[in-house]
């Protein structure tokens, strides 16, 4: 994702020779098609490989047939059970049926609750999305303006302040920060509710999106909205403290490289107002790396909220995976792992496409 800035800008086709103006355009369309096709191919390939890895892990765990029959099962019963579960088939057959199940959305059965893992994940998804969304929003509110301000004056006081906050945020284990916030916010100050999950009970109207805060606002149920924000705030701050630093650093460094570039200085020396230069030159040129790190962050948040969810008893995917892990129930763990990784790959490729659509240089150079 090397973003070359400066001279390449001049190669933008807008000032190019008029002849053959439609020929490059059609060539570009084919290029774009090829690019999107290659991205899709890569997406499918990586997803299949990721699923293959979870398949390997699922076969490397203890043979589930032993755990599903009683202690005094005979060899025949075990063999029958294995045949029933398809474990006596050759590996490639097992792999094929695993893949076929995945395509149908079948992630297996939880050994703890005897419910299909896919359904349980679907039920818990909104909680994780709510927490991750709130954390992403919070960290963007700090990281983007903070990063740009810091980058405009490297080594200035804003840069130092924001930089130290980011350093601290990256070093503090977020499960520990969560506990400390619970101690101060709940035990000491009493401003926040006990860490018992989401404020589900507060909402009387019917759920529309599954995301409590948004549901409450849609239903104009302001007391429920306030409650759910109260439940949401501490875990969101905790999670944001971990994901904010990388976004901040990338934004800051991108801004620094733009501010130090010749075209930026040239625009300023031509007397273009600072505000205009910042809007027209700074923002577009830092967008590609920022979008890239955002994609990584979203992918991380889908699976990275594990410990924060555990600390705040948040009923999302992370606490689900940990609870399953506790009772050696591996299908839910692998289901969550698979969902998180495929989401990551998907978001990452979408971010690449967005960058591609936004940056004309990427189309020209192909």
């Amino acid at each position: 994702m090397a973003l070359s800035t400066g001279p390449e800008l001049d190669r933008d086709g807008s000032t190019g020779p008029p002849q053959g103006a439609d020929e490059p355009a059609s060539a570009t369309r084919v290029d774009v098609f090829m690019y999107v096709a290659r991205k899709l191919g890569s997406l499918v390939l990586v997803s299949v490989l990721v699923a293959t890895l979870t398949f390997v892990v699922s076969r490397a765990t203890a043979d589930p047939s032993f755990l599903m029959v009683g202690q005094d099962a005979t060899d025949e019963i075990i063999a029958a059970r294995r045949a029933e579960m398809g474990l006596d088939q050759p590996m490639y057959r097992q792999w094929a049926s695993y893949m076929a199940d995945l395509v149908r959305g079948d992630l297996g059965i939880s050994r703890r609750t005897f419910a299909p893992v896919g359904g349980e994940i679907f039920e818990r998804l909104p909680a994780t999305v709510e927490l991750a969304g709130a954390a992403l929003l919070l960290s963007l509110l700090v990281a983007i303006p903070g990063g740009i301000r810091a980058g405009l004056r490297p080594d200035g006081w804003i840069d130092r302040l924001v930089g130290s906050i980011a350093q601290l945020g990256a070093a503090i284990p977020n499960f520990w920060l969560g506990l400390m916030l619970i101690y101060f916010g709940f035990y000491w100050l009493g401003w926040f509710p006990a860490p018992t999950g989401r404020g589900l009970f507060a909402l009387e109207s019917e759920s529309v999106t599954g995301i409590v805060t948004i549901d409450a606002i849609l239903a104009r149920d302001w007391s429920a909205a306030r409650d759910s924000v109260g439940y949401l705030l501490l875990p969101a701050v905790t999670l944001a403290s971990g994901v904010m630093p990388p976004i901040l650093n990338v934004t800051r460094n991108a801004a620094v490289s733009v501010v130090n570039s010749a075209y930026y200085e040239a625009a300023l020396s031509f007397g273009v107002p600072r505000r205009v230069v910042q809007r027209r030159l700074l923002l577009p040129n830092i967008s590609a790396p920022v979008i890239n790190i955002l994609a990584i962050t979203i992918g991380f948040l889908m699976g990275g909220a594990v410990l924060v969810e555990v600390v705040f008893s948040w009923p999302g995917l992370g606490s689900y995976a940990v609870a399953a892990m506790d009772s050696s129930d591996y299908n839910p763990v692998l289901g969550v792992v698979l969902l998180a990784s495929v989401t990551y790959v998907l978001v990452y490729q979408i971010a690449d496409l967005v960058t591609f659509a936004m940056d004309p240089r990427l189309r020209i150079s192909r």
């Binding site: 890895l53 284990p173 400390m180 101690y183 792992v337 990452y348």
Partner: protein, 304 residues
């Protein structure tokens, strides 16, 4: 070894291709001098902090005021005092002694795991960078797949596959860190594959493994050192996080993450010290490693 280097220098001198990295007639002395410069410019505070950590790992368990594993029903959950600097936990064990004793397992396992990952990953990265072609492409794809797993969930899945014990903790840490080294070393060494001094070595009859390990790999030294500090910091966080949810190191064995976990219920009774101090230890060690890593990064950019 010296003869080959001289040949390269000769060749480079003849073709006028004096590469900054390799074309010195006294490679050993340069390396020492460069190391001396590094040591003199190391950031002060983090270095002292890490030196203390190292000392604590070496002699800590011998000098702690109390036995970290000795429960004492008479003074359970005692607040920090002169007798117990960090207070006592729910079993009356001395928290200060436990925080000190835990450094050995936390930092030890992190360093062990990351070292394995660093050695294997660096050699693999340098090899594929030197070989190129389809091997390179396959390894790159594999790294991409591995890195699309969220770190912590990847560790969970590995524990699910391998079983939960301290040896497997080392395996988990090394498999988490391996891809980073492959990636970084590969990106540093790939552009060197076509360099004249590499061709000179090939013409002089140097074997492939020799070129990769002795000649190519040293070019990535400062990147690898920076990454080592960074990944050790991350490994400490992962180990503590895993122990926090009951995987890896098991209580009552002193470990920062499990100490934070066992102290969590007492937070709501006002006993903040059981969870707070091990967390502070993690933060201090990790912050020192981070600034050390930033120092190596700056060096990399400075030397070019």
């Amino acid at each position: 070894m010296l003869r080959l280097e001289q040949l390269v220098v000769l060749y480079a001198g003849l073709t006028g291709q004096m590469t900054a990295n390799r074309a010195d007639t006294h490679p050993r002395r340069t390396r020492l001098a460069r190391a001396a410069v590094w040591i003199r410019r190391l950031p002060l505070l983090p270095t002292i902090m890490l030196a203390i950590t190292f000392l604590v790992i070496l002699i800590g368990p011998a000098i702690v005021p109390h036995d970290p594993l000795q429960p004492n029903p008479a003074n359970v959950l005692e607040a920090p005092s002169r007798g117990h600097w960090f207070g006592t936990n729910g079993f009356g064990m001395d928290v200060f002694s436990r925080v000190i004793a835990a450094a050995r397992i936390d930092v030890g396992v992190a360093v062990a795991g990351v070292t394995v990952g660093a050695v294997v990953g660096s050699i693999l990265g340098a090899t594929v960078a030197y070989t190129g072609g389809w091997v390179d492409a396959i390894v790159q794809k594999a790294i991409e797949v591995l890195q699309s797993f969220p770190l912590f969930l990847f560790a969970l899945a590995l524990f699910a596959a391998l079983g939960d014990n301290t040896f497997n903790l080392v395996v988990v840490i090394s498999s988490i860190s391996l891809p980073w080294y492959v990636r970084v070393v590969r990106s540093v060494i790939s552009p060197l594959r076509e360099a004249d001094w590499v061709k000179a070595l090939q013409n002089a009859g140097a074997s492939g493994p020799r070129i990769v390990v002795l000649e190519l790999l040293p070019n990535a030294t400062s990147q690898v050192l920076g990454l080592f500090a960074l990944s050790t910091a991350l490994a400490i966080q992962v180990i503590a996080a895993l122990a926090f949810i009951g995987l890896g190191v098991q209580p009552p064995f002193p470990e920062w993450g499990s100490m934070i976990n066992t102290g969590a219920p007492f937070l709501l009774q006002g006993a903040w010290w059981v969870s707070t101090f091990p967390g502070v230890a993690v933060v201090l060690v990790v912050i020192s490693l981070h600034s050390l890593s930033r120092f190596f990064d700056a060096e990399t950019r400075g030397i070019g």
